[in-house]
Every structure is written in C-alpha cells, then in structure tokens.
C-alpha cells in the first residue's frame, strides 16, 4: 500500500504512477506514486538503499522503469523513445559528485548545452551562462576550470549549468553529501533562493534545517516505497507516521 498524495488544485508538474524497478532480485522501487505541483519543493528522505536516488534518476530517464509511468509537465518520460532527450532538456539534474566537464571552464560548462542542445549562438549561450553564474554568485570564476574550484563552487556551477537550460523542474540527488561542512551552506543558500523563485524541486537531502524551512512536503522512503508523505511539521511532530518519526530522530 502506497501513500496517496494530497490532492492538487493545479495540474501537477511531475507525476509518477506505480513505478517499479528491480536490480536482479533487489527491489529498488515498489509501486511508487508521487505528484509534485508546480513550484512545490518535495524532499525525499529515508535510509540508504530505500530507493530515493533510483526514484529521482527515473524521473529524468537516467534509469528506465520496469513498470509505471512518469510525466513531466504532461509529457511522458519514456527512455525508449527519441523524445527523451528533448524532455531531459527541460529537467535539471544536480549530482552528488557534481559531474562538471573537467576539460571546460565554468563558463563553457554552463554554455555548452544551451549552444548544442537549444541551438543558441555562441554569444547568446555565453550571455545566458554569465547570467546563471552570476545568479549562483560565481561571476568571478567564469574562466576557472573545475579542478581550480572548491567543491561548493563546483556544485554551484553544476546548478548554474542546469538552470541555463531553463528547466521546468530541478532534481537534486544528495547535492551536499560530497561537500565539506563549511561548503554546504553556500550550496543550500543557492537552492533556497531557487525555491523562493518558484522552481519546482525534487531532492534527496538530509539537511534538517533546509528541509524544515524549504520543503513543502517530505516523502519518507523505505524498502522501495513511500511510507509517508506530508509536510515536514506533520511528519516530525504528528503521530500518524511513527516509522518516519523514528527515522528522523535517529538521523537528526
């Protein structure tokens, strides 16, 4: 039994219906449903191996699902269809390990996809890249290569790189887990601003403060299912979600 979502008044930006995914005998996702409204921020939490990362990677088709359907802004996410590239271009993804292109400068990292995927001219792409680097507070690092940047700076470039595609949704897969403590704040700050600007966001994160302040809802994953999905306040304080509360008390 999966948890039904609170009904949304607007058409959801992202819908996942009955997602199943196995790796051999291991069940990574077991009939997962989730609706995310436009401008909503949903945080996925839960023990490791519970399916959070798999779920988020299925949403933009980096992993294929065995069963179930995903739509983003009404478009079907089908990894076996040519349309997948065009849909991925509308979904931003930020990785735990940043995955910046090491042979390109910060500016080139951000400008590449707008140029080759969207088809902007070099000048337009660079213009857009500068705007986004400015937005994440790195206008002074445009000509630095990733190896010359700190982890926090690299992750902010990665966020700018995704934003330059003007995505409808942003996915973050443990964006601060690979960072030293003093760099986590700068990345969360950027994400906070992004949420405030009305971006639809789905993220895997264990930063309690951030989750409390920014998350509209928290989805608690365990054994490939969403056991509970509610506002952070209800999840932490209410009695309805005993298992989730127990988890939070342990990790936080």
């Amino acid at each position: 039994m999966t948890t039904p979502d609170s009904s949304q008044s607007k058409d959801p930006m992202v819908t996942a219906r009955g997602l199943c995914k196995r790796y051999g005998d291991f069940v990574a996702l077991d009939h997962v449903d989730l609706d995310v409204a436009p401008s909503e921020v949903v945080v996925l939490v839960g023990p490791s191996g519970a399916g959070k990362s798999t779920f988020i990677r299925c949403l933009n088709g980096l992993e294929s699902v065995d069963a179930g359907t995903i739509t983003v802004d009404g478009q079907n996410v089908d990894t076996h269809d040519e349309s997948i590239h065009q849909i991925r271009a509308q979904i931003g993804m930020v990785f735990q390990q940043f995955n910046l292109f090491p042979h390109l400068t910060a500016l080139e990292n951000v400008a590449l996809a707008p140029r080759v995927v969207v088809g902007l001219t070099r000048a337009e792409a660079i213009e857009r890249a500068k705007e986004q680097l400015n937005r994440v507070g790195l206008s002074d690092k445009t000509n630095n290569y990733p190896a010359e940047l700190s982890g926090g700076q690299q992750q902010r470039v990665a966020i700018a790189r995704s934003l330059a595609m003007q995505p409808k949704v942003m996915l973050f897969d443990e964006p601060t887990s690979a960072l030293d403590a003093e760099m986590i704040g700068e990345v969360l700050g950027v994400m906070r601003d992004l949420a405030k600007s009305g971006m639809t966001m789905i993220l895997v994160s264990h930063e309690l403060g951030f989750v409390r302040d920014v998350a509209g809802r928290v989805a608690f994953f365990e054994n490939g299912r969403i056991l509970a999905c509610d506002t952070p306040k209800n999840l932490l304080n209410g009695d309805a979600h005993a298992r989730a509360r127990e988890f939070f008390q342990r990790v936080w």
Binding site: L62, H85, L100, A113, V117
Partner: protein, 188 residues
Amino acid sequence: MLIGLTAVVRSRLLNAIGRVYVDVLRGVPLLVQIFFIYFGLGKVLNLDRFTAGVLAVGVGYSAYLAEIIRAGVLSIAVGQHEAAASLGMSRAQALRHVILPQAVRTILPPTANEFIACLKDSSLVSIIGLRELTRAGREYYSQYFVDFQTWLIVGLIYLAMTLLLTRLTRRLERRFAVKGFGTVGARP
C-alpha cells in the same frame, strides 16, 4: 576512428561489425594482410603496388587505433555521460562535446605509439616490390657494398621521422592539457 566508435554506440549491429573487424585484422599478421590485399584484392580491383601497400598498412593499423579509441571512451567516468544526458544531449552530442575531448588526452600517447610503429612497419611493403626506405637501402647496398654505412643512414632516417612524430605528439599533448586535470604529464 569510426571503427573505434562502433564499439561505444548503442547499436548491436554496429558493435558486432566493429568487433569482427578488429578481431580479424588484429589476428592476422600485417605481412599476410599485405599479400592478401595486393595479390587478392589488388588483382580484382586492379590496385597498383602503392595503393595496395598504403591500404594494407592503413587498414591493419586502424584496428589497433580502434581499440585505443574504445579504451579512451571507456576511461571517461559514467557521471560524465549522465551529466551530458541530463542536459538533453543525445549520445552523439555527448560523445562529440563531452566524452571525446576528454578521451583525446588518454588516447594521444598510445596513438603516437601506433603511428610510429606504423611508420616502421611500412618497410614491410617492400615485399610486394614497393620501393620504400628499407628497399632503397637494400638496393643501394647491393650496388655499392657498403653495408654498415647504408643501414646506419637508413636507421637514422627512420629515427628522424619518428622523432618528428614524437615531437608533434608532445606538442598536441600540451595543446590539449588542461590546468589541474588529466593524465598528461607535460604542462605548458
């Protein structure tokens, strides 16, 4: 280059063609390939000695180069492919803009190796009567009977050509070097 890429595209047919091409050409001595192309294909297609010789050495070495290119592409972390895909790039766009520019750095030194070996193995085509450097040396020797000097000169000419290639690749390596990144020792 193209053959190397057949191994990394998502097409079973192309994968298989590339595999067979590499396995066959790598598994047969170059000398035999030269005979085969000159006496076999050459008779059918009416190839002259020079075309047949160049073709045989070129095709033979392409198999080795293909494997080097494949290794270069495989050496790039999966996260790079994923990051490119998540930005909406097709497989071809990702290869061209993200994967190959990085793989070049890994590919360059072994590629230089192959070109140098290729240059030296070009002496094999003398067997089908092509007058290249080694054969020229032998003719000179049989005419004037100065063995040591002849082969010293021939050796030095080969060395000069390969050193030129070596210098060229060093320059390329430096050109592709990126600050703080990669497998390239030489820095600008």
